[in-house]
Amino acid sequence: MSDCDLITESMPLLLTESLDAEQRERTHQHIENCATCGDAWSGYRETWSLLATLPEVEPRPELKKGFLASIGENVKPFAPAKDRRYMKWLAQAAAVVIIAGGSYFAGHRTVGAPQNYQTPATINSQYSIAESRVLPAAAVSPTIEGRPNIENVSFVDTNPDDQTIDLSFDVTSHVTVTGRPTDKSMVRLLRYVLENENNKVSPSRSRTIDWVRAMYSKPGNAEPEISEALANVLRNDSHEGVRIKAVETMNRLPVNASADTREALIQALKSDPNPAVRIKAVEALANLARSGATLDAATLDTLRQKAVQDNENVYVRVKAAEALSSIHQ
């Protein structure tokens, strides 16, 4: 390896001031006397400076609120060793009581495949995911499978004279619902997930929208309720990236011309604080017009206003003008 190669390799170290004094001096001397390395050094310095121009982005304040709220929900306080032993004992005691009582409710289950699932006597034929149930011990399998995650255990003896005790707990279960995209239950579940994602129903909000787009953009799967749910996401979601995805997906769905979805697009164009969302709303409205929908006078007026509004983002103005031009062609 030549001197120049060695010097070039140490340029990033020179930029980060990671060379010791002697190496630094030697490197600088070489750079001053070697035109090739001098050019390379200028390039490195220019690149290093350019990188610094990338602006810092502040996380949204809601993120901190979410984190502080989740500490109570997701993180159990780290307990000193003595307390942990106590918790372990409590868990074991709970398990013993559960076994003695013949309690069972856990694991991964598939709703829609009832042949794999032993239905306890008290469960209705229609399964509700919001159900809080009371099960007699005799209705619960004594075999505990799948290492269920049991929390918030409480022991209650409401009537000391009746020979029965109550053991109450929360258990996390994983439910898979199988059905056609157009099944009412499936549509309602997806709608619930879409409209409640700010409450962390699902870990990634845009993942659901991606999936909805893939499933419901097929002509046979058109579902007005899904479009309405996306319109609500556009109105209410606090994250601009999610709102952008919602508009993009509305734009792809075969059924997106309802009054409700159009109203959501116009509202977004008028008042969404984020210019990228407003641009997407313009595109969606233009696309609606191109696909044959008639835009009413109020919508066209809004587009005209946006095209000439002095304090509007320059990209939004250009897009609105383009949209009007394409609509009138």
Binding site: Y44, E56, V75, F78, P80, D83, Y315
Partner: protein
């Protein structure tokens, strides 16, 4: 809480008291978020990363040893999260540059100057996106977080020599993409 060191705050957390959570978050959330955003080019994933890193920090506070810097530990968790995210095949296509578009235009700049600045930002993000994940991780920690090669090596689970190589190669690629060496030598604007 503001007068306490990171180590002192973590000792309180390790004793089962979560009251320093807000202070620790204030000290590091911006750095963690920006690192994750620049690594993943996806603001939503960066938010998820930030949230999960801090929850993990509280959950596994007992794994933090006072002899290490809290920033190094937090960046280790963040880098792991980001690597896992990229490893999942369906996340590779989810890059977006929405945040750059979303940043409010500085009031003092003319529309032309704003466009130029946005275009520069886009070029830098694109150039960073063209690096391998290992190179990107190394250059982000070095340039934007000011970490030493020894700290980066600890975070990335590799030798200091490997970090040096990654930073060097990253700088070579970035120099070609961002300076007059770039093909065409242009920094002109293109309308979106």
């Amino acid at each position: 809480m503001k007068h306490l060191s990171d180590q002192e705050l973590m000792r309180i957390v390790q004793a089962g008291d979560y009251s320093p959570a807000s202070e620790i978050y204030d000290r590091y959330s911006s750095r963690i978020y920006n690192f994750a955003y620049r690594f993943l080019k996806n603001s939503e994933a960066a938010e998820d990363a930030t949230q999960e890193v801090f929850v993990k920090m509280m959950k596994h506070a007992n794994q933090f040893h006072g002899d290490a810097k809290l920033s190094t530990w937090l960046f280790s968790i963040t880098a792991n999260w980001c690597r896992d995210y990229l490893r999942k095949a369906d996340n590779k296509t989810k890059e977006s540059d929405d945040v750059l578009v979303n940043l409010p235009a500085p009031a003092e700049l003319s529309p032309e100057r704003t466009l130029e600045q946005r275009e520069n930002e886009r070029r830098i993000q694109k150039a960073l996106g063209a690096l391998t994940p290992e190179q990107r991780e190394a250059i982000l920690l070095s340039r934007y977080q000011g970490l030493s090669y020894a700290e980066i090596a600890q975070i990335s689970g590799c030798s200091e020599g490997a970090v040096k190589t990654r930073v060097f190669r990253a700088m070579e690629t970035l120099k070609k993409a961002l300076t007059s060496e770039a093909s065409g030598g242009q920094r002109c604007l293109t309308a979106i």
